[in-house]
Amino acid sequence: MSITKATMQAGIKRLAMAMEHDFEMLNTIDGALGDGDLGVTMTRGMRLVAQASDQLPDDLGMALLACAQAFTKSSGSSYGTLMATGLMAMAKEVKGQTSIDISQISPLVALARDAMMKRGKAELGGKTVLDSLDALCQATKGINDPDELAKAAVNSVQQALDDMRDKPATIGRARIFAQKSIGMDDPGMVAMQQIIIALADR
């Protein structure tokens, strides 16, 4: 099975709606340790992506680039910039392709993860969105069945949250509240869980 422009457009629609739904929840969870704008970042970004969705090019690399640009335009917050970084890394890889085999997903996520690590100068295990992406990448490796893939993806980001919850924050605004953050979920990881649930259509 493979992903085409139409699959992507359907995914964008679900994701944009999910982000509207999670607006308050993401702001609140970010507000507890940071500046409370994560819902704003995700809805602003996804509104621009959804607007561009009808005119997406068939080249999926160019399509992903357009999504990345929506994030660089709409916000300067860390998560928006990291999203753009990850999308750009994937865009570079699939440039020229009009479909992506689902077996490519795991290596594409790895590319995004690595580009984001470089951009944010952060390590794995630091209780950030990177840990969600790493879990996702590992869990989806070698899976060819779409249903199985969706299930593994959704489970992996939940598992990442469970694994990290009791660690202190080490990165971003939450770092200065390291002690307080123990037992609390990282907002960027929660956002990634909602993204994956929407894309996986679960």
Binding site: D35, G36, D37, Q69, T72, K73, S74, S75, G76, S77, S78, G80, T81, L82, A84, T85, M88, R119, G120, K121, I171, G172, R173, I176
Partner: protein
């Protein structure tokens, strides 16, 4: 909320519109994001561009320092939020006169990512970019971990010195080198007495008792070194100086510049009371203060409190510091 504003979401856009309406001889909007400010008269062709950017709410930082002998352009985000990579890319384009652009900004996670990403965006347009990151707040990390420190008012010295070097016609490498030297020479510390209010939040960023102060607090309310009863001006100044001098020991005959900066609400009267003690201390050390700056140079809207910045000078830094500069907020 003791703030004069319309819709909190329009705070930054309306502020910039007013700024440009008041000072069209200094500032113009560049591009169509509404949040990139460039010099009314661009620098001369072949001049290295110097840009900065960051969150709003710190006037004159950042936008105010666009001007001759200072910044060429500036990207401004929402209050206390980084501008987007796209805006910074536009800023780089506005500042480029064919000789490359120095990105000179404060050490905050969001800004770091966005300035880097902006560099990626303009790379294929053949604009050469370099980076100097200000990390001068001694309260935010130890000397051994200097690179983790927040960037605060030392920025103003770096803008002035890099801007003068660029105006003098030095190339990108030379401008970057002296900007890095200036950034490394800056040591700052702040003390906060009351919070400011981010317009979109609508309530003070932090609570602090009527008789309390916080030593070492960051300009967005980042936690400091200690919180306690408000002390006398001379005690406060002494502790701040001691912390700066522990970071940067000085010897008799050294030359420095020194800034006593209000975070916003603290009036110049009180800055001069602080400066009086600063001056005495450096006289005892036989350290010469060149061009002291006392005023509102880097603020957090209506926060009460003050910051000190010490910059150790050598001949090169001192001569760039004294060269002419001109913006709506500062003339040298």
């Amino acid at each position: 909320m003791k703030k004069i504003l319309n819709n909190p979401n329009d705070y930054v856009d309306e502020m910039l519109q007013g700024l440009i309406a008041a000072h069209p001889e200094y500032y113009r909007l560049h591009g169509d994001s509404g949040k990139v400010i460039a010099r009314a008269e661009p620098g001369k062709s072949g001049k290295v561009g110097v840009i900065s950017g960051g969150g709003s709410g710190h006037l004159p930082v950042f936008t105010g320092y666009v001007g001759t002998g200072l910044l060429d352009a500036c990207a401004i985000g929402d209050v206390f939020a980084s501008p987007s990579a796209e805006q910074i890319a536009d800023t780089i384009r506005a500042a480029d006169q064919g000789a490359g652009v120095l990105r000179l900004y404060g050490n905050y996670g969001g800004d770091l990512m966005n300035f880097d990403m902006a560099g990626d965006l303009v790379e294929f347009e053949d604009i050469k970019c370099t980076t100097v990151v200000l990390a001068d707040d001694v309260a935010s990390a130890s000397f051994e971990e200097r690179e983790k420190r927040r960037g605060v008012a030392g920025m103003v010295y770096a803008f002035k010195i890099a801007g003068a070097a660029a105006e003098a016609g030095h190339n990108l490498e030379a401008v970057t080198k002296v900007a890095q030297k200036a950034a490394d020479a800056c040591h700052s510390i702040g003390v906060a007495l009351s919070s400011c209010t981010v317009p979109q939040a609508g309530k003070p960023t932090f609570d602090i008792g009527e008789d309390e102060m916080e030593m070492g607090m960051g300009i967005h309310g980042e936690p400091g070194v200690w919180r306690g009863k408000l002390r006398q001006a001379d005690e406060i100044a002494d502790e701040m100086l001691d912390r700066l001098l522990a970071d940067k020991p000085l010897v008799s005959g050294d030359r420095i510049s020194f800034m006593v900066n209000s975070l916003g609400a603290t009036p110049p009267e009180e800055l001069y009371i602080l400066f009086r003690n600063v001056k005495k201390r450096f006289e005892e050390l036989n350290v010469q203060i060149v061009m002291p700056l006392v005023g509102r140079y880097a603020t957090s809207m209506e926060m009460s409190g003050a910051s000190f910045t010490l910059i150790k000078l050598d001949d090169e830094l001192e001569s760039h510091l004294k060269e002419p500069a001109d913006c709506a907020f500062w003339k040298v």
